[in-house]
Symmetry: C2
Subunit: 355 residues, 2 copies
């Protein structure tokens, strides 16, 4: 009864076309690197139009010697390659109850690969930084309108100076050995390990060192946790990724036959590293450790894990996964609800039926 | 501020890879014909392996003269082309509350196109049918295992004799002017207008006329409405499509700016034709008629509709669509919950936020 499954493949899952927002079919991907054709896309605006100005990067503001680097100059500087996962701050937004507005990301607004580029700090060796500097602002070439404020905005985000100068914060120009694809930021893109990916500005245009705290709308309006529906009280900014895990298989609401099944998935965290993933096959009554795939060559990626489960009783069953990291963080029973739907990271839960 | 959106396109949405089940990105498609690359795929088993036997169609059982038709013979018979939509009985399954097990189809397990073939009744002019015949059984070349019963099964379904002999029930070999693609049933596929698409058997192998009522598992176990969770009481078979509508735009939980927006979608029914689609922009307090696109060349397709909405107040808003057909059927407030999650057709509902 051999079957031929000609050309069976998943596709990116479209959440919105304009701007183009598509998630990785994470439940159907094995392996540790996300192929380019499955790398998730999250855009705030329509794609910019590539122009020659894209090949010059301005560094200005509170620096000693403002300077514009050409693309070729950047390519000629000492390189660094870092394996980094990127996760959209809205990943798993569709899991919030009550629902929050915005793209209804499932569990695939995340991908990972090898980013090659120049450490951002290298560029500042040429310009210097004044002592009063507090933040560094990154502007992309992508611009457009917002629903809430009138005007044309560029996509701009800032980083605190320490994070910006971390040796693994890159101005990247290659992904997995190839020049960045245009949709993922060609020619130059910031890569900020450990932070949600709104920080990894694409189509990098300008870098400005500032004294104060940047208040652009993608910093001070969006990418803020607002714990209350109708007031801004208690708000705080979205920065590093929460500890998280996802069950890739079995699929939620799947029907399985009796027998041994492999439960598999991924786990990640924005600080430290994953130390443990536990699985429950009885809705949290008891927990057993999953087997973590040996640590890879980077602290900035997800970990693959597996768990063999002997499904020997017919009926419905709820499977949970719960990750713990080296900072002592553990996935909570419930995610913190917030108005814009960021950072969902509750224990992962799938319900299956064994026949 | 002109933008170039190079190569922005949706993809099929993968629900499962083995067997391959992918839905149409219906929210992102305009027009009235589903391009082949976006035609939804719903399989019970892995794809069969194409063999020369696929080019012979046996007609047997309670016929006067059993006969095997070759593919070439079928191509030489008088043709008929009918525009038909196909909808999976599990379309919108993910909308059921409580959730039901199985592929969690969104709203895109449906597609339509022009099917060309030979009316099934034409084949019976060659074989005759005995007077005692009650049903006609259609067997596909696709076979495999089930989770609930041991053994290897072929995909087999039956039709009552009247439906089978309707002049628009086809043995089809072309879709939109091209030979069927293999994944959609090449070389020969049954097309049954108005019924949920489990009836439109792909890779047609054998047609058997029987006296009794067919009891294969895809007829007597699956594709049955079971209104109760733990008992089979009140069960009845899935046959024609329920009256239904889907709002394609705006997307559920979208954030919109103030101003005029086009609400657009589709409506369809399994008997008669759509006579009215009503829209509410205040969660059902008041209803206004949508504009239906002029009737197309077929009674077996969905109707496109639009409604202009002046979103002049900020805040959250629930938009509903409700279709009525010429048989007097109207979409209900709540769908009939059933254990296997078939035929969801409640009023379509999207929530948006105007900023």
């Amino acid at each position: 009864m051999k079957r031929k499954n000609v050309h069976v493949k998943p596709y990116l899952l479209t959440k919105k076309l304009l701007p183009e927002n598509q998630e990785t079919p994470i439940h159907f991907l094995a392996g540790n690197i996300t192929p380019l054709s499955y790398f998730y896309k999250r855009n705030h605006f329509s794609y910019p139009k590539l122009m020659t100005s894209f090949f010059h990067l301005q560094v200005e503001g509170n620096v000693k010697v403002p300077r514009t680097f050409s693309y070729n100059e950047i390519l000629s500087l000492p390189t660094k390659t870092v394996k980094v996962m990127l996760e959209c701050a809205g990943d798993k937004r569709s899991s919030f109850q009550p629902k929050t507005f915005g793209e209804q990301w499932g569990e695939g607004a995340l991908s990972q690969g090898y980013w090659k580029g120049v450490p951002l700090r290298t560029l500042f060796q040429y310009t210097g930084i004044r002592g009063s500097a507090k933040e560094i602002v990154f502007e992309g070439h992508d611009t457009g309108m917002r629903t809430d404020i009138t005007g044309i905005f560029a996509y701009e985000r800032s980083l605190p100076i320490d994070k910006a100068l971390h040796p693994d914060t890159l101005v990247a120009y290659e992904l997995n050995g190839e020049p960045l694809s245009f949709k993922h930021g060609y020619p130059l893109r910031l890569i900020v390990p450990q932070w949600y990916a709104m920080a990894s500005v694409k189509w990098l245009k300008k870098i400005s060192v500032i004294d104060g705290s940047f208040q652009g709308p993608f910093q001070a309006v969006d990418y803020i946790y607002y714990p209350e529906k109708n007031r801004d009280a208690g708000k705080y900014p979205v920065t590093t990724m929460n500890i998280n895990s996802t069950i890739q298989q079995p699929l939620d609401l799947a029907i399985l036959d009796k027998g041994v099944h492999t439960i598999q998935g991924i786990a990640w965290t924005g600080e430290g590293e994953i130390t443990k993933v536990e699985i429950s096959t009885n809705d949290g009554e008891t927990w057993m450790p999953a087997v973590l795939q040996p640590k890879t060559d980077s602290p900035y990626t997800w970990v693959n894990w597996t768990f063999f489960w002997n499904a020997n009783a017919k009926g419905e069953c709820t499977i949970l996964s719960r990750a713990t990291d080296s900072m002592g963080r553990i996935q909570p029973e419930e995610a913190l609800w917030n108005r814009k739907g960021y950072g969902y990271h509750a224990i992962c839960r799938v319900k299956v039926k064994v026949e």
